[in-house]
Amino acid sequence: MAITRYENVEINNVTNGADSIGEYTTTITPWFTTRARVRDVANSLKIADKYRVYQDLVNLTFNYTPYMKQIVDDQDLYSITWRDQDWRITDVREADDRMSITLLCYYNAPNTPV
């Protein structure tokens, strides 16, 4: 029997701006807390002779709600806090029956907040 895991996640608003000396800023403010079905947690490490890049991916499935549709429409304006990391959304899949939305989220280090 397949195991289904649901875990608490926090959805954040992402605001881009500039500080007083013009440095690019990314500000995250919590929007709401929800539960997501967590699947396919995948951590990978790319090693070159001078650097290491960690790129982690996870699939999070949510119920289809108006808020989630908003996230689908503007995925760059939202991030997800899960396991104390700030995950950004790369791919979005809406179920054809409009019952669920799956977000493929990434976290990478060194971190470049966009």
Partner: protein
């Protein structure tokens, strides 16, 4: 007798002044990584902070400071780029007075050189570059 201003103060003043001129177009000192969603924006780079120095044992025996900042305009639409450059020219060229808002400083003159326009094929953005020298009596 003059003192050397802190480059950080210059950076704050330039950011404030440019943002004030072109608002609501965003202004950055480094590149705008979100340019896919912000089709026009400005960046600036400060260089050549220099006060003339005179001979003698007194360190504060210096002339007026003449830093230059380059303004790079990026826009998907070429007309937007030209019009933004015009906004900056009209507002800044020949300007004398308070620079950088209430927290800024007095400048004797701002001198803008409209350098050239260009197109970045990789980014798909039109660019216009200007140099602005400000004369800061310290």
């Amino acid at each position: 007798m003059t003192t050397q201003n802190n480059p950080y103060d210059y950076a704050e003043a330039i950011q404030y002044q440019l943002a004030d001129i072109v608002t609501p177009v965003p202004v950055y000192s480094n590149f705008n990584r979100n340019y896919a969603k912000q089709p026009k924006f400005l960046t600036w780079q400060l260089r050549n902070i220099h006060q003339d120095v005179y001979t003698g044992g007194i360190q504060s025996n210096k002339g007026i400071d003449t830093p230059i900042f380059q303004i790079s305009i990026f826009a998907q639409n070429k007309a937007d780029a030209f019009n933004l450059s015009n906004d900056i020219l009209q507002s800044l060229h020949g300007y004398s007075g308070q620079f950088g808002g209430p927290g800024g400083f007095f400048i004797a003159k701002a001198d803008v050189h409209w350098l050239y326009n260009s197109y970045d094929n990789e980014l798909g953005l039109n660019q216009i570059f200007l140099d602005c020298m400000i004369y800061v009596p310290a």
